[in-house]
């Protein structure tokens, strides 16, 4: 348990360092990448490309093991369906991302040096996620 918590702390710190180094916490940097009609900034392609190159290689080796180092088994999603929830959810996320320039990781990392945008975006994001979960549980009951 302690080992797991320390490992998560270290992984989180690496993640936050990477986000800040890549300037992903700067919404204008993200929007510059999504803006093909303006002055295009390809940087985010290198961020995602660099990250996925690492996981493509490392995950193959890691998932060949029977279990992770500090747990009895891997905790992986078994979902494979390309369903309306996936498509509609990703589309809504894309709209919010394109409007604001924040996805969830940079919105959290922004707490390292919060500005006025952090205190609007982050609570709204938490409310949005809570609303979705509440609607889903309410629909399940009905």
């Amino acid at each position: 348990m302690i080992a797991r918590v320390l490992a998560a702390l270290a992984a989180g710190a690496l993640f936050g360092l990477g986000l800040a180094a890549a300037q992903m916490t700067q919404p204008s940097k993200v929007l510059g990448f999504l803006d093909f009609a303006g002055a295009w900034d390809p940087s985010l392609l290198f961020v995602l490309g660099g990250a996925v190159t690492v996981t493509l290689v490392s995950f193959r080796f890691i998932l060949r093991r029977k279990a992770p180092l500090f747990d009895e088994h891997f905790h992986l999603s078994t979902k494979t369906a390309i369903d309306p929830q996936l498509l509609i959810g990703s589309a809504l996320f894309g709209i919010g991302w394109g409007i604001s320039g924040y996805c969830p990781s940079p919105a959290i990392a922004a707490l390292a040096a919060p500005n006025s945008e952090t205190w609007i975006f982050l609570p709204a994001m938490l409310v949005g996620a809570g609303l979705q979960r509440w609607l889903a549980s309410w629909r399940k009951k009905a």
Binding site: L9, L14, D35, G38, S43, F93, S105, A112, E117
Partner: protein, 144 residues
């Protein structure tokens, strides 16, 4: 097309660090570094999963704080960007990632690493819709 503000080295270094972070988490704890899920599943509190999630998020903030402390570059708020639009963006990001079961980190960095078709579709959809949205907001509505 005109290219500007391109920072290939810092982007690549940042990307390699993010990929390494996801690898460390999977290798040591067996968990996927999907930030939207880690955040939204904090409540209701889980005795077995809560502690590592909080530690991961704390590390995320601490890592960014360490970078700003050494190299600076903490982002400033945009002067003219409307607050209501920021709030709408936040609501949609929270709702959408919760419905889709992942965001740029979970579907993008980790899902693509696992060769998940579901994650590839999600990534293409939010990237594509993001590009269309930026065109509408920046160029049709003229909001920067």
């Amino acid at each position: 097309m005109q290219v500007s503000n391109f920072t290939p080295y810092s982007a690549l270094i940042g990307g390699l660090l993010i990929g390494s972070a996801a690898s460390v988490l999977l290798w040591l704890t067996g968990r996927i570094a999907g930030v939207s899920g880690v955040v939204s599943r904090l409540l209701p509190w889980s005795a077995s999963e809560g502690a590592w999630r909080l530690a991961f998020l704390f590390g995320l903030v601490a890592g960014a704080a360490a970078y700003y402390a050494f190299w600076g570059g903490a982002p400033l708020a945009r002067a003219t960007f409307p607050g209501w639009l920021l709030a709408l963006g936040g609501l949609l990001v929270g709702f959408g990632t919760s419905l889709a079961g992942g965001c740029t980190s979970g579907h993008g960095v980790c899902g693509l690493g696992r060769l998940s078709l579901r994650s590839l579709v999600a990534t293409l959809v939010f990237l594509g819709i993001g590009i269309v949205t930026v065109f509408v907001v920046r160029h049709l509505a003229g909001i920067q």
